[in-house]
Amino acid sequence: MQTTILYIGRDTEITAVMNRLLNARPEWKGLCVCKDEEAISICAEQQVDLVLLGNGIEPSSETELKNKLLSLRPELKIIQHYGGGSGLLYGEIMTALS
């Protein structure tokens, strides 16, 4: 069974890399977007297990985004993704899901 992971970050290049990295593992399904509205729409329409907050999200936007996502799915885990690539990704996700 796949774990659905939603990544939100403002940098389009990093978002594309994250999409490739997340979907490279058969146990993960990665959904990667740059806009908060897209993230909220995805969460409203389908099961999401984990949210990774990537680069460039302003603090006020981050708070509002978290609140909206949690109002849709109170059980949702939301963590900060650091590094923008593969180095920390596996450890972050394993820790969040453990």
């Binding site: 970050g9 403002r10 940098d11 290049e13 990093i14 890399v17 990537g54 680069n55 460039g56 999200i57 302003e58 900060q80 650091y82 590094g83 923008g84 690539g85 593969s86 180095g87 920390l88 596996y90 450890g91 394993m94 820790t95 453990s98």
Partner: protein, 240 residues
């Protein structure tokens, strides 16, 4: 009462990709050990050996302070900020990834092995403007002395980063003893032995061993061999 954690060289994560032989003091890439996630804000300590001419193609980073210290050979760096440089043994490079930066890193020499330490710290502020710097260090200044090579302050010795961290490098004669005072309350020190054998707070450390010490304001140090070289990373223990 001070606390410590000892990471012996042979307990590090290891990945041999042929052209890249990597040892990870903390979880990195496919090496995942929940007991080895970080020491305070120190998240990554990679000891990489890279074959001649080989390296990492362009790849992005964000929100991380990335410090590279070549131990042997030279690394060719290019990034999306327009920087293009070669960093060799005796120099230090820092990149504040902030809102996002792409870079490539290759062994600058076709016929020489590159060995480097790459260190990642969590920043104390997210989404800063990306920044790059490198410095040539005075090798003589680290003889029987912990030479500061990194700090949070732009006008202090060494490169500066977006974190309340201080790095020092020292190379010591056999029998040399000293004390290192931690720079800021709440910080701990992670000592990484580059070569030789040393004793820190009573713990005997060999080449590539790591020792983290916290809940103290200083550590004791003694060089047990003539070629003892140590990197001290004085970092906040609380994640921001």
């Amino acid at each position: 009462m001070s606390q410590f954690i000892l990471h012996k060289e042979n307990t590090r994560g290891h990945a041999n990709h042929g052209w890249l032989n990597a040892h990870h003091s903390f979880s990195f890439a496919n090496y995942y050990n929940p007991e080895r996630m970080h020491f305070g804000v120190l998240r990554v300590l990679n000891d990489d050996s890279i074959d001649g001419g080989m390296g990492f193609g362009s790849h992005p980073h964000d929100n991380m302070e990335i410090i590279t210290i070549p131990l042997a050979g030279a690394i060719a760096h290019k990034d999306s900020m327009g920087n293009s440089a070669v960093i060799k043994n005796g120099e230090i490079q820092v990149m504040s990834a902030g809102t996002g930066v792409s870079h490539s890193e290759f062994n600058a020499n076709a016929d020489e092995q590159l060995n480097l330490l790459q260190i990642w710290l969590f920043p104390n502020k997210k989404n800063v403007t990306p920044r790059y710097d490198q410095q040539t260090l005075d090798l003589a200044a680290r003889h029987n002395n912990f030479q500061q090579i990194l700090s949070p302050n732009a006008d202090d010795a060494g490169v500066w980063i977006q974190q309340d961290a201080w790095f020092s490098l020292g190379k010591f004669d056999e029998g040399f003893e000293t004390e290192y005072k931690i720079k800021k309350a709440g910080n701990g020190v992670y000592a990484f032995v580059i070569s030789g054998e040393v004793t820190i707070n009573g713990q005997v450390l060999s080449k590539r061993d790591g020792l983290g010490v916290w809940d103290t304001d200083s550590i004791s140090f003694k060089a047990n061999t003539a070629d003892a070289e140590v990197l001290l990373m004085d970092v906040p223990m609380e994640l921001n």
